[in-house]
Assembly symmetry: C2
């Protein structure tokens, strides 16, 4: 803890060209000796969260790391108050479609009785229901979590796009669940600009991806609840969430509606159906006025980020397998680059789900 | 050398369930003591080359490793004879379109005066000419090598698809170049089954990719010349050779002919043009009766290879960044897998080009 704290404070003072680092280090040291931990000042927290984003090796969106809006909510420890605050996060982030990157920090793990955990993977995510014939209605990724919500007393509407409730746990208390009001969830209906092949499928996706199951570590302090959002990259929705065979698995459906022969291996039907989904999602977000970046622009933005970091004398760390988009990879500049993949701190980490 | 030799011989005898490994090891040991190296028996050479393919971490085509035809040409040391033999390799591999995986081994580096080097990257590859306006006609990858050929006295025809001559060097002798007769090079003209957007571009590609610039290492012996070929995977031609901006760079050309707005960032014009190229190459190889595998089938074949290897108790090593195809990545099974990426031997390795 002491070493990590010192390294972080020094980095902050140096990068931000602040004076008085030794005074601050003394303070921090004293707190750690007294309590085994220390409190970040609001400006440290804000800087730490931004740098955690800058250090996210798998994130292609890092050009905008400085613009992250950091909301300090360490004082909240009542589930209802936390839920209300998450609704504010959603509102501010959604911004009627002009999405803003936002992160909200709750009490760190060093205060066990107050530690906040959100049990959802993302604040907004669609439920999944196992049906009598064994098939799954909704987003297959959510099967276990949906069952958990049901066991807590939640009841879904049995559609393919039911928004799950938010499950919040403080300390060792019983988790509580809260239904998100409709007006907090911006939904984009998906249609294709030129083809009617998606009509009547009722496809839709939500506007704001808010990751809520990763922990944020800053200078040795672990924030077990620090939900954050950017805007979507096109392929996340069109090539993965709607297309993966273990998610909405829409490629065969779309291909059949396009009249393609899905039996024939060599007809590139998956590639063609995928392109249609991509066109549809891009068009639909544009029409709805919701921010979304396509993989070509995102790639250029990431390379711009790399140029700026190099200028600053910092070596970008990146995970090629995540940075390169899941389709049309070699048409993007990032495909033809390599990076070291060391994990710097501050950063976001996976944690065991609280409910497993 | 002794350790590698022993490990290889033991592996061969064990995997092939042969008797008499200690006799053979004694023999090998004696040769190494006498001459600092040893000769592979033809059966060892053949097994070694096949396993080198099986161990090629970046190759998605490994399901067929056992079927590799290995041609032992260690006795050849005359450039003309070597060239004639390479023409036989081409004939046998091309097989009128039903392509066969073939590898030809020449004299190893341990015999410096006889060491064979082919200076080409691939036996068949298209030339590149720098034009007065600075643009490049042909395959930009070949600029330096084409200039080299010209300095040796070769003259191209100044088309975008001139097949380069083969440059062969034995020991420290002057390299010699040989023009490949037209009837040895199967060429596939590229057209689209439904659209006329490629007409008059004169696109074409060759049927057989024969890698000629990697060294083959078996049991400590380095074969500096061991050209090998499989058949093409669709994306190698359509998504890389014809599409990369630093290769034939055809995406903007195709997109314009499709009437797409290439100025608009968000129109997915690269994705659409890429799909058209893929459809065209697939269709054209099919029409020409030339073996080619698409990325979906190749992915399934590779996963089948993984299953078989697991059954045999061998852990597959693979380089995810090369195994996953450069487009439609996440629609293929290999995208959702991970492998260790240790380099086993025998294997193929890069070598410094003989001419640089
Ligand atoms: C502003 C727009 C943003 C875009 C376009 C973007 C894009 C992406 C994409 C495409 C991925 C890969 C996701 C996947 O394949 O599952 C990713 C991962 C990630 N991003 Fe971003 N991102 C953005 C904002 C942010 C923000 C604000 C943060 C944190 C403050 C962040 C942190 C991360 C992290 C930690 C990962 C890895 C997630 C994991 O390992 O599961 N990103 N991002
Ligand atoms: C039979 C059909 C084959 C298919 C479809 C196939 C497919 C591929 C593909 C798609 C790549 C990546 C190429 C690139 O992105 O540049 C590759 C790489 C490779 N393959 Fe295969 N392959 C086949 C046969 C072979 C054979 C016969 C050998 C050797 C005996 C071989 C050894 C290799 C090696 C060493 C690499 C890595 C090349 C490098 O690092 O530049 N492959 N293969």
């Amino acid at each position: 803890m002491r070493e990590k704290a010192e390294a972080f404070i020094r980095q902050y003072y140096q990068e931000s060209q602040l004076e008085g680092v030794s005074d601050r280090l003394e303070e921090v040291e004293k707190q750690i000796l007294d309590r085994g931990t220390y409190d970040h000042r609001p400006d440290e927290l804000s800087y730490g969260a931004k740098v955690a984003w800058r250090n996210s090796n798998r994130c292609i969106g890092r050009l905008f790391w400085k613009s992250l809006k950091v909301r300090d909510r360490r004082e909240l420890s009542d589930p209802s108050a936390i839920f209300e605050d998450l609704m504010e996060h959603l509102d501010f982030a959604t911004n009627d479609g002009k999405i803003r990157p936002v992160l909200t920090v709750f009490s760190p793990s060093t205060e066990p009785t107050q530690t906040v955990r959100i049990w959802n993977k993302q604040l907004i995510r669609f439920a999944a229901y196992r049906q009598y014939d064994g098939k799954i209605l909704g987003d297959p990724e959510s099967v276990a979590f949906t069952e958990l919500c049901e066991s807590l007393g939640w009841e879904g509407k049995n559609t393919a796009f039911d928004v799950l409730p938010i499950v919040i746990q403080v300390g060792n208390q019983r988790p509580e669940w809260f239904e998100i009001p409709k007006d907090k969830v911006k939904i984009v209906p998906i249609s294709h600009p030129a083809s009617d092949c998606l009509d009547e499928l009722g496809l839709q996706w939500y506007a704001v991806p808010v990751i809520s199951d990763m922990v944020l570590e800053i200078g040795g302090v672990v924030y077990s609840c620090a939900p954050f959002n950017g805007w979507y990259m096109l392929t996340e929705i069109a090539a993965r969430n709607l297309a993966d065979s273990f998610r909405y698995d829409l490629l065969p459906v779309v291909a059949e509606r396009l009249g393609l022969d899905t039996g024939s291996k060599r007809a590139l039907w998956k590639d063609r159906a995928l392109l249609v989904l991509q066109e549809a999602v891009l068009h639909s977000f544009e029409t709805a006025g919701v921010t979304l970046v396509d993989h070509h622009e995102a790639s250029e933005q990431f390379l711009e980020f790399c140029r700026i970091e190099a200028e600053k004398g910092r070596e970008v760390q990146a995970d090629w397998t995540w940075i390169v988009p899941p389709t049309a990879g070699s048409t993007t500049g990032v495909f033809h680059r390599e990076w070291k993949n060391e994990v710097l701190e501050p950063n976001f980490f996976y944690a065991d789900p609280a409910w497993k």
